[in-house]
């Protein structure tokens, strides 16, 4: 990390959720303290939960709790949570599993299901170790009263962090049940076989079901994560396809997302909002709204909104309010990149070694790349249902951080944490865009004033305007290469967009890598892959430019400068499947490729594009083309569910097409001009090229997450293909802006 420096700059509109994700991931720790305050929070469920409490909550049987290092569980900036286990290294409980007197198995995790199918993979892991069918395991997720504290579902961490914890807990439960069964059957545990929820003595008819073993017990067992677990080569359930565990609820429409929920006496809410970021309310004339039947207008120091008996009434009411807003002059998309560079600090002079390496390079190259702000646009917008019962607050909300939102709520109302409960039902996606609890806080404020439960669902326009974006960014690269294609110098600067995947995986002796924090005019935060979408785009296009400068094939050039075997493997696998170097593209078609690594996994994408004829109007226009084919090779260690992994990879590639080709937030003076699907184009059926996906299964490598990394290679692969077709370098995303 020594050649990676952060340069600080005060940028109050940043959410900086990314900083949380940097702590402890893969052993790399950010050397930057987070700017948003971590509340000095204590979580009663982790702190003070005694064994007796657990059994009171879950009933008799066996409960196994698995400890994790608190550096895994805590938020960055230092953990202040109370611990289990006195004098040793601080630990927290990561997950627990209950086996009941009826033999029912329930596993509890603070992770949230947002479409990444974590519910299914976590269920598979527990079923595997307890040797039961998937249908025998119930997963309770994201309930701040029932599940252990979890810092949030992001950073591709569920698979590398939560899976092992549940696996250990389930294995420990199995072993304890065997021990208890051996005592009950008065035999040696070595003579027992476990299958289908039964523990049977080999060669005799004696057997006990899990329920029979658990009956009358009140046992809680706290384990360290060192229990031996089933090796991947012996997996019966993991490593094989499995359908989404609650698929039937989804296809029948029975599953209740937050936005579907109804509570007795519930009212529907809307909040009064401006168009521009940072605008302040000067006046609001709500006389018309106050006249609508059943509608109440709510005005406090923190919020102005309405509640009504129907969604329609609330909508009519909010639209009828005549509001005056005071706006501040701000930036527009047309001067965004200039602004981002101007408001960032300099990195200081180039180190002498790098200056010398550049000076001596046979070929030097310098280029600038840019990416727009883009929106997550989850299909279910932010939603929350808030209900007060005396001094207790319960909120259902679609978020990736139920415990984080609980803290935000407690803080907003000056309440002790143990008076707040947050549920996250399986949610209509997030993609890194649902880390913050604005909607939950708004709903809770309105519910408090209304004295009734309140449901608040953000409109699509509100979701575009008032959520947060993937940061826009400018990237400058200056590089040097030898005639024979060896990278010799690399000076890389990212302005605003972030540090994810900022380090080059290629071998370069002399390099400098810097992230410059700009003043972002729009609210920004995590996105799928974070800045890896920008950094990998810039790097992989630049690599291609260097390859071209020394007249080398882009694949050969990369392999020449890359030792890392896992990345080489996906690059070669994708190229092989694609036919790179074997077939010539058809007339008007061209090929491009790119690879990348982030969060413990590796990806490579080869793309084929076809140029489209353009009317020659004499003005310079971006080239018109469409993507015909994309082959992606991906590897993330031992695969838990190959079908769902393929879904994640292809879904990420398709989502990446949007950021690559047409997605961009347009704004004037801090106010969005395209906050609708009719104006902000996202990938549809017609945009999907022929996709082929190769999943490399490395049972010898611990499973890593797959939610993000697959998105990072499609955009540069396409840009490189366009260059091959036209000789024109597209260095700015999106590549076909404004194309309807």
């Amino acid at each position: 990390m020594s050649d990676w420096t952060f340069l600080e700059y005060d940028a109050d509109l940043d959410i900086e959720i990314e900083r949380y994700e940097l702590a402890g991931v893969g052993g790399r720790v950010s050397d930057v303290e987070p700017r948003t305050a971590c509340t000095d929070a204590r979580h009663p469920t982790s702190d003070t939960l005694t064994r007796r409490d657990l059994l009171k909550v879950f009933g008799a049987g066996l409960v196994v709790l698995c400890l994790v290092d608190s550096s895994d569980a805590q938020e960055s900036g230092g953990g202040r949570r109370q611990r289990f286990g006195g004098g040793q290294a601080p630990r927290e409980i990561g997950a627990w599993i209950h086996v009941g007197e009826d033999g029912g198995i329930t596993a509890f995790s603070g992770k949230a299901e947002v479409g990444q199918n974590a519910r299914t993979s976590l269920t598979m892991v527990v079923a595997e170790e307890l040797r039961v069918p998937i249908t025998a395991v119930r997963m309770v997720m994201a309930d701040t009263d029932l599940t252990p504290y979890d810092m949030g579902t992001f950073g591709s961490m569920t698979t590398p962090r939560m899976v092992p914890v549940l696996r250990e807990a389930a294995a420990a439960a199995r072993e304890t049940l065997i021990d208890l069964a051996a005592a009950g059957l008065k035999c040696d545990r070595g003579s027992l076989d476990v299958e289908g929820g039964r523990i049977a003595r080999r060669g005799s008819g004696d057997a006990l079901t899990y329920g029979q073993v658990a009956k009358g017990r009140k046992l809680a067992q706290v384990i360290q994560p060192v229990v031996p677990t089933t090796p991947p080569a012996q997996w019966q359930i993991e490593g094989h396809p499995a359908h989404k565990v609650n698929a039937r609820e989804m296809v029948t429409g029975r599953h209740k997302y937050t936005s579907d929920m109804k509570r007795p006496g519930m009212l529907y809410a809307r909040v009064l909002r401006p168009e521009a970021v940072g605008a302040t309310l000067v006046s609001a004339d709500a006389t018309a709204a106050e006249k609508l039947p059943g509608v109440k207008v709510i005005r406090t120091a923190q919020i102005t909104g309405v509640v009504g008996p129907t969604q329609h009434a609330a909508g009519e009411a909010i639209a009828s309010i005549k509001a005056e807003w005071k706006t501040e002059p701000s930036v527009s998309s047309s001067n965004l990149f200039e602004h981002l560079k101007k408001t960032a600090p300099n990195g200081g002079p180039m180190p002498d070694e790098l200056t010398a390496a550049l000076a001596h390079a046979d070929v030097k190259l310098r280029a600038e790349y840019a990416v727009a702000y883009i929106a997550h646009a989850p299909l279910e917008p932010r939603a929350a249902v808030a209900e007060w019962n005396g001094d207790r607050l319960t909120v259902w909300t679609g978020t990736q951080r139920p415990f984080g939102v609980k803290e935000e709520l407690a803080s907003a109302f000056g309440m002790p944490l143990d008076r707040v409960r947050v549920f996250t039902p399986d949610t209509g996606s997030g993609y890194g865009g649902k880390h913050t609890g604005e909607c939950a806080i708004e709903a809770a404020r309105l519910a408090k004033e209304a004295g009734k439960p309140v449901k608040l669902v953000w409109t699509r326009e509100e979701e575009f305007r008032f959520a947060y974006f993937r940061p826009a960014g400018v990237i400058e690269v200056e590089s040097g290469v030898s005639k024979d294609g060896t990278l010799v110098a690399w000076d890389y600067h990212n302005y605003n967009s972030g540090g994810s995947a900022i380090q080059t995986p290629y071998d370069v002796a002399a390099k400098r890598t810097q992230f410059h924090n700009s003043r972002s005019p729009l609210r920004q935060g995590s996105y799928r892959g974070l800045a890896a979408t920008a950094n990998n785009f810039a790097r992989e296009v630049h690599l291609d430019e260097l390859a071209h400068a020394v007249m080398m094939d882009p694949l050969a050039f990369r392999l020449k400068n890359l030792k890392e075997p896992r990345l080489r493997a996906v690059l070669e696998a994708a190229a092989e499947k694609f036919g790179w170097g074997k077939a010539q593209p058809a007339p008007g078609h061209a090929f491009g490729l790119a690879c990348g690594t982030e969060k413990g996994s590796v990806v490579a994408t080869c793309a084929e594009i076809a140029m489209e004829p353009q009317a020659n109007s004499g003005t310079l226009k971006p080239p018109k083309f469409h993507v015909v084919r994309a082959v992606t090779a991906f590897e993330c260690g031992a695969i838990i569910n190959p079908e769902h992994l393929q879904n994640q990879v292809e879904g990420a590639v398709i989502m990446g097409l949007g950021g690559a080709l047409f997605e961009a937030i347009e704004f004037e003076n801090g106010a969005l001009t395209n906050p609708r699907f009719s104006k902000y184009r996202v990938p549809r059926f017609g945009d999907v090229p022929k996709l082929q996906t190769i999943l490399l299964d490395r049972k010898d490598i611990p499973s890593a997450g797959a939610g993000e990394t697959p998105i990072i290679a499609i955009a540069p692969a396409i840009s490189n293909a366009v260059f091959a077709a036209t000789g024109e370098r597209l260095r700015s995303l999106p590549m076909m802006p404004g194309r309807a």
Partner: protein
């Protein structure tokens, strides 16, 4: 205003502003929450229901105009515990991730298959172009539609 809606073969009486969207009335008054709010401007298809067997964006359909017409929601597809071939095909093909788009996708697909029992890939793309899947499961949805179409073409037992 009192309105009569024919939903999934049943007559349902509701009290609603005729200008309220069919989406809101189905979801909030009749608790048929399968159809979803995604954009409110008919651009994402999450609100899709069938009216007279044809895919309709209920978020931009005033409930008053739907009175007296045959409305089918996702809840109407399962019969006596048996899933519709499209529902089964979506499960088999793992054609969903967050599944928020799924009811709308299934109904748009059903509307297509009513008119075109053996659609080509191009016909599927065109018919489904108005339905967004932000999780990007389009290829599997296409596969599910082909599978369901084949199943539906089989003679009934």
């Amino acid at each position: 205003m009192k309105l009569t809606l024919l939903v999934n073969g049943e007559t349902r009486a509701v009290e609603a502003d005729p200008q309220a969207s069919l989406l809101q009335v189905l979801r909030d008054e009749l608790d048929l929450t399968g159809c979803k709010y995604g954009c409110g401007e008919g651009q994402c298809g999450a609100c899709t229901v069938l009216i007279g067997g044809r895919a309709t964006r209920s978020c931009i359909t005033p409930v008053g105009t739907a009175a007296g017409k045959q409305i089918t929601t996702i809840e109407g597809l399962e019969k006596d515990g048996k899933l519709h071939p499209l529902q089964e095909a979506f499960i088999e093909a793992d054609a969903m991730q967050c599944a928020y788009c799924t009811p709308g996708m299934i109904l748009s697909a059903l509307s297509l298959l009513h008119r075109t029992p053996s659609p080509t890939d191009a016909e599927i793309r065109q018919a489904m172009q108005g339905n967004l899947c932000r999780c990007g499961t389009y290829p599997r949805i296409t596969k599910a539609i082909h599978a369901a179409a084949a199943q539906m073409r089989r003679p009934a037992k």
